[in-house]
């Protein structure tokens, strides 16, 4: 079965540079979530989109922005990168509309961002 695809898998950037992370949800899923996992930490929710509209916002810095496109893929744009932004960034997707019952989130493999 098709899973969530994230690209790139690894990214190395210098301080103050910008980075763009991409997420391709499971086909027919309508909701995308972004999470950040620092070393030894639990995943922290950043932002989510339902049907291309922002649906919820967590602890996402103002330097970061995200959007969901007409084909449902999503991009997380990160500017003025700081050393503390080094982390694993996970994208998850789920099918919310039209389902009855539960809406488990399925995660991609993550993008490991290293800021030097």
């Amino acid at each position: 079965a098709a899973g969530v695809i994230q690209s790139p898998r690894h990214l190395i950037k210098e301080k103050r540079e910008t980075a763009t992370l991409k997420c391709y949800p499971i086909p027919r899923h309508d909701t995308v979530y972004w999470y950040q996992q620092g070393p030894g930490q639990d995943p922290q929710f950043l932002i989510s989109f339902y049907e291309k509209m922002q649906s919820d916002k967590g602890s996402i810095p103002d330097r970061f922005s995200a959007q969901q496109f007409s084909d449902y893929h999503s991009e997380l744009n990160m500017s003025s990168l700081e050393l503390g932004d080094s982390a694993l960034y996970f994208c998850a997707s789920s099918l919310v509309f039209g389902r009855q019952g539960t809406y488990e989130q399925y995660f991609g493999p993550g993008t490991r961002l290293t800021v030097t």
């Binding site: 639990d42 929710f45 998850a92 789920s94 919310v96 539960t102 995660f107």
Partner: protein, 114 residues
């Protein structure tokens, strides 16, 4: 403030025995709970979930128990297998069975010894 707590950072069990992973939460608004398994360099893999209207959900070797009054849930794996060795995250959400943002615990590293 950690709303979802996994107080055991690690657990080691013998193959064939039962593994019990525990999770406590503080937010009484949580109404949907999930367990994810994570291998290094991979994303979390959904294992099993439970709604707050239930107290037990079973799927093969995996059973999740929910005690709402104690704000406690546990994941039982029987029998444990070496391939179960991974980090297990407990997660919770408010509303609509998991469609909202997930709040994670810090994870428990399970090691199943042959």
């Amino acid at each position: 403030d950690q709303q979802v707590k996994q107080n055991s950072p690690s657990l080691s069990v013998q193959e064939g025995r039962i593994s019990i992973l525990n999770c406590d939460y503080t937010n009484s608004m949580f109404d949907y709970f999930l367990w994810y398994k994570k291998y290094p360099a991979e994303g979390p893999t959904f294992l099993i979930s439970i709604s707050s209207i239930k107290d037990k959900n079973e799927d093969g070797r995996f059973t999740v128990f929910l005690n709402k009054s104690a704000k406690h849930l546990s994941l039982h794996i029987v029998p444990s297998q070496p391939g179960d060795s991974a980090v297990y995250f407990c997660a919770a959400s408010v509303g609509q069975g998991g469609s909202e943002k997930l709040v994670f615990g810090k994870g428990t590293k399970l090691t199943v010894n042959p």
